[in-house]
């Protein structure tokens, strides 16, 4: 390699590293600023309720339909495996634990990032592109308090509710397939489920996961929107980054949380 090429490569690597560190630092400062403005969003409840409607209520269709199908598929696959071991009466347990512990928070989180996270980023990014955020600043109104914080809180509130609904519909889907279609005894389906699913260990941990995913997705979505380049391409890039970064964060956080929550399983 020629010395010029080495210098050129080192310079590019250095620039990229500095850029990443700068962006990380800016993201940290932005996150603190959003958290500082969160109480203001709670005081202006009408703004937050509006965002819960946009993030939560408008995501219901995709969450409910997905939950139903995931539950039905899980029941079919689970029944096939459980039958080999003569444990088909445990279908309710298998489905409920899979959904409440993992699939509910994770799949609902991924869907939430795609539907609501991308919408939040695009909306804030377009507000920046059309100078609406600048106009707000020039009217002595802080966009972090008026635009960003309500969307952040709306996302955090919506996410656990959507995850819970996803799991409920999933269990209902499994009931339709397992009990109504295949013919498993309804009593053992619900009874085994009730005795095996622990409220603190399974349900609360599932809720904690969905809250953490809600914080991650909402924060990434508002950050990317607020820092989007004010062009059509910039908003498009920011929206894509939201979906990618949110999805990867959910999967990574899920692993970390699972390690801490269910340590007993791996001895």
């Amino acid at each position: 390699m020629r010395p010029d090429a080495v210098t050129w490569t080192l310079r590019r690597v250095g620039r990229a590293t500095l850029g990443s560190v700068e962006r990380l630092g800016f993201a940290a400062r932005f996150s603190v600023a959003v958290l500082v403005h969160t109480p203001a969003a709670l005081r202006r409840l009408s703004l937050t309720l509006r965002e819960i409607y946009f993030s939560g209520v408008l995501s219901l269709v995709i969450i409910l339909v997905s939950g139903l199908f995931v539950g039905m598929v899980l029941a079919l696959q689970g029944y096939d495996v459980l039958t080999r071991y003569g444990a088909n009466e445990s279908l309710g347990v298998l489905v409920a634990l899979s959904l409440v512990r993992e699939l509910g928070p994770v799949v609902a989180g991924l869907l939430f990032a795609s539907r609501a996270g991308s919408a939040i980023t695009a909306e804030i990014g377009l507000m920046k592109t059309t100078e609406q955020l600048s106009a707000m600043e020039m009217m002595a109104v802080d966009p972090l308090a008026r635009v960003v914080a309500p969307r952040f809180v709306g996302g955090i509130v919506s996410m656990p509710l959507l995850a819970a609904l996803f799991s409920m519909l999933g269990i209902f889907g499994a009931y339709l397939v397992g009990v109504k279609l295949i013919g498993i005894d309804a009593g053992s389906f619900w009874g085994n489920m009730q005795s095996a699913v622990d409220f603190r260990y399974d349900i609360v941990n599932g809720i904690i996961k969905s809250v953490v995913f809600g914080v991650a997705v909402s924060l990434i979505a508002v950050f990317e929107g607020y820092n989007a380049r004010p062009t059509a391409e910039g908003v498009s890039t920011a929206t894509t980054r939201t979906v990618v970064a949110s999805s990867l964060s959910i999967l990574a956080l899920d692993f970390v949380l699972t390690v801490f929550m269910f340590r007993g399983m791996v001895g």
């Binding site: 100078e131 609406q132 600048s134 106009a135 600043e137 009217m139």
Partner: protein, 279 residues
Amino acid sequence: MSDTLPAGSDAGNAGPAVVLKDVSFGYERRRTILSGIDMSVPRGKVVAIMGGSGCGKTTILRLIGGQLRPQRGQVLVDGCDVASLDREGLFAMRRKIGMLFQFGALFTDMSVFENIAFPLREHTGLPDELIRDLVLMKLNAVGLRGAAGLNPSELSGGMARRVALARAIALDPMLVMYDEPFAGLDPISLGIVGQLIRRLNDALGITSVVVTHDIYESLKIVDYIYFVSEGRIISQGTPAEVRASSEAFVRQFVDGAADGPVPFHYPARPLAKDFARAA
């Protein structure tokens, strides 16, 4: 042309509304946008800042509004050094300023009525009935009282600019800044917006700073003009002085000549070098 500004309505009492003293600004150390800008905007006057695209006109507005801080020099608004203000102080100062953005920057999730009510709801504790009356008065001033129920997407470019103007004066500011208010308007809308800027300035006793490159419309309505090129003020004067000026840049601007001090060609190698191989 003269370097002496006309005195404003109450200039003797409170001094100019806006003063820029030896202001320099650049986004990076090597890229200078503005250099040594000296400017004064007397109270009650309409002052235009003119120049070609990318010459730093809008940056001057952002410096006055405190969205940017100068690297050198002082920006004084109503006698207060903008760079010395903390966030609270800056927001308090901005309550005295209205700004009309290039394409209106109306909030697209609100109706026309709610757009104008927005600053009133944010900064005053006025009851809804009073806010309603104030909003309709502001809309009436720009001739759009009947459009209160429309959404921004239903407005033409000229109407959107007028609604944005009504919003800019909602809090009865002492200073209104206009960023390219004539851009992309048809001749009728252009005339209406121009006349509104002048009429509202005089009727409400405010001060106006208009950033534009529309020389004909500006000459009709402004009291004083600064010409900016490559980050420096290269000429200034009253409309009469501008019309009579023989300065090359001003003449190019007034006559709309393609070539002159602002060259038609982007800097490039000599023509012969680029075509030498072909020959």
